[in-house]
Amino acid sequence: MQVTAVRHADVLVVAVTGRIDYMNAEEFKSALQPHLANCVAGGDKVALDLSRLEYVSSAGLRVLMIVAKDVRARKGTLVAVALQPVVREIFEISRFTLVFNIFDSVQDSLRAISPAAAAASRAG
C-alpha cells in the first residue's frame, strides 16, 4: 500500500495504491493524515485518487470514515475519485457511497471542487 500526493493549486490529489485490509489499515491512516492536515475551510481541498486501489476491507473503510468525519468537522472538502469497479461495489454494498462525494475522474473532481485547480492541472 502506498500513498502519494500531487498539488494542483489549492487541491491535493492523494493517490492510494495497492490493497488495504485489517493488517495495514493503521499504516494507511498514518500515511493519509499528513495530507489532510490543512484540509479545513479555506485550506487545502483533498481528492482521494483511488484508481490504483485494488481492494479495501472494512478496516480500511473505517479509516476513511474517521478521516471523513474529521474533515467534515473542520468544514474541509474531501472527495473520492476514480474507484475501480470492485472498490466501487464495496463502497456501494457498505453504503460508503453515502459518505463520500464520488467522481469518475480526477479532472471531474477538480472541476467540481476548484476551477483554479482544474486550470492548473490542464496547464501543467
Binding site: Y22, S58, L61, R62, M65, K69, E89, I93
Partner: protein, 319 residues
C-alpha cells in the same frame, strides 16, 4: 447436526401487516398471469420455483431463538426471544403436554429481545420439564426473575412448575453440555454479550449475535477469526450496514454483512448465515441485503468459497 431458526429478528419482534400481505398477493398474481396453473401442485411448484422469496415467503418477525438438533432427546437452544414460543408449541404438538422434556439454553446476553419469549414458553408451565439456562453474565437468574415480577407479568417466576436451573460458564473455557463441546467468547455489546462455539461430531457451529466488531486493531480481529476458524456454520449479527456501524450507529453493539463476510473469509468458515435482522427492514430489503452479501463474497473471494444464507423464521440448515 441440524440448525433450526425459530426467531431471527433483532431488537424487536415485528409482524407483517395487512398491507404487506396484500402487496405480496398482488405481486404473485401479476407473476402468475398468463401461466397455465390448473392444479394445486402446479400452483405450489410455481410459488416455490418461480416467485422470489420475499414475495412467496417472509423472513419472519420473532426475536432471537435458534435450535441445535444433534439427534438426542434433549433440546438445545440459543437465546429465548419470542421464537421460543413457536418452538415450544412445535414440541408440544409433537410430544404432547405430558412428555417430560429437558431444554438446554445458551444465552448470548440478557437484553429484552433475547429473554422476552420465556414468559410464554409453554414448557415452563408444565411440571416435569427441566430447563437449564447457561450464560456468562452475573445476575442471569435475577434478569429472568425480574421479567416475571409484577407489574410486568402476572405469573411470578417462583410459581413456574418446571425445574429451572442456571449454569454459569466462563468465557474462553471449553466445557461439555448436552452432548456438545461449548466455548463462549466475550463480545462487544452494551452490558457484554457472549458468542458460542459449539462442536459436535467433527462439526462446528458458531452463534455470534449482538456483537460489534470495531476493527480498531489487528489483534482483536484475529481473536474473532480464531473463534470462527473452520466453522461449518457461523450465525452472525448483520443488523446494520458497515457505514452505519462506524458512524451514526457506532457503539450500538451490532455488526454488518461486510464484517461477517470478511471474518468468515479470514477464518475459512464454510457457511455464513446473516441474522438478527433490523426490525425496520421489510422482506424485500432483507433479500436485497442477502443479494449484496452474495456479490461481496463473489468479488472478494480468494480461493475459498463461502456459502451465504439469510436466516428466516423456519429455516433449517443441515451441518
Amino acid at each position: 447436526m441440524r440448525v433450526r431458526f425459530w426467531g431471527t429478528r433483532g431488537s424487536l419482534p415485528v409482524s407483517l401487516t395487512a398491507g404487506d400481505i396484500k402487496s405480496k398477493i398482488v405481486e404473485a398474481l401479476l407473476a402468475a398471469a398468463g401461466r397455465n396453473l390448473k392444479t394445486r401442485a402446479d400452483v405450489e411448484a410455481f410459488v416455490e420455483r418461480d416467485l422470489p422469496f420475499p414475495i412467496s415467503h417472509t423472513y419472519g418477525g420473532n426475536s432471537s431463538c435458534v435450535e441445535l438438533d444433534i439427534g438426542t432427546e434433549e433440546y438445545v437452544l440459543c437465546d429465548l426471544g419470542t421464537g421460543v414460543r413457536p418452538f415450544g408449541l412445535h414440541v408440544l404438538a409433537r410430544k404432547g403436554p405430558h412428555a417430560r422434556c429437558t431444554f438446554h439454553v445458551f444465552m448470548s446476553h440478557l437484553h429484552w429481545d433475547h429473554i422476552m419469549g420465556f414468559p410464554l414458553f409453554p414448557h415452563a408451565y408444565l411440571p416435569g420439564n427441566r430447563i437449564v439456562i447457561y450464560g456468562c453474565h452475573d445476575g442471569i437468574e435475577e434478569a429472568f426473575r425480574r421479567q416475571h415480577a409484577a407489574p410486568c407479568f402476572p405469573v411470578d417466576f417462583s410459581r413456574l412448575p418446571a425445574k429451572i436451573e442456571f449454569v454459569k460458564l466462563e468465557p474462553g473455557k471449553r466445557s461439555r453440555h448436552a452432548g456438545l463441546d461449548v466455548t463462549p467468547m466475550l463480545q462487544l455489546h452494551s452490558g457484554d454479550s457472549y458468542g458460542y462455539r459449539f462442536e459436535h461430531g467433527g462439526k462446528v457451529v458458531v452463534y455470534s449475535t449482538d456483537s460489534e466488531h470495531k476493527n480498531e486493531d489487528a489483534a482483536s480481529t484475529q481473536e474473532v477469526v480464531r473463534f470462527f476458524r473452520n466453522a461449518d456454520l457461523v450465525i452472525f449479527d448483520a443488523m446494520y450496514s458497515l457505514a452505519d456501524t462506524v458512524s451514526v450507529k457506532e457503539d450500538w453493539g451490532h455488526s454488518s454483512n461486510v464484517m461477517g463476510v470478511e471474518l468468515c473469509q479470514h477464518a475459512r468458515a464454510k457457511h455464513l448465515c446473516i441474522y438478527h435482522h433490523e426490525p425496520v427492514y421489510n422482506d424485500a430489503k432483507i433479500a436485497s441485503v442477502l443479494k449484496e452479501t452474495l456479490r461481496l463474497e463473489e468479488i472478494t473471494r480468494e480461493g475459498h468459497t463461502l456459502r451465504i444464507s439469510s436466516a428466516y423464521d423456519g429455516l433449517e440448515i443441515a451441518v
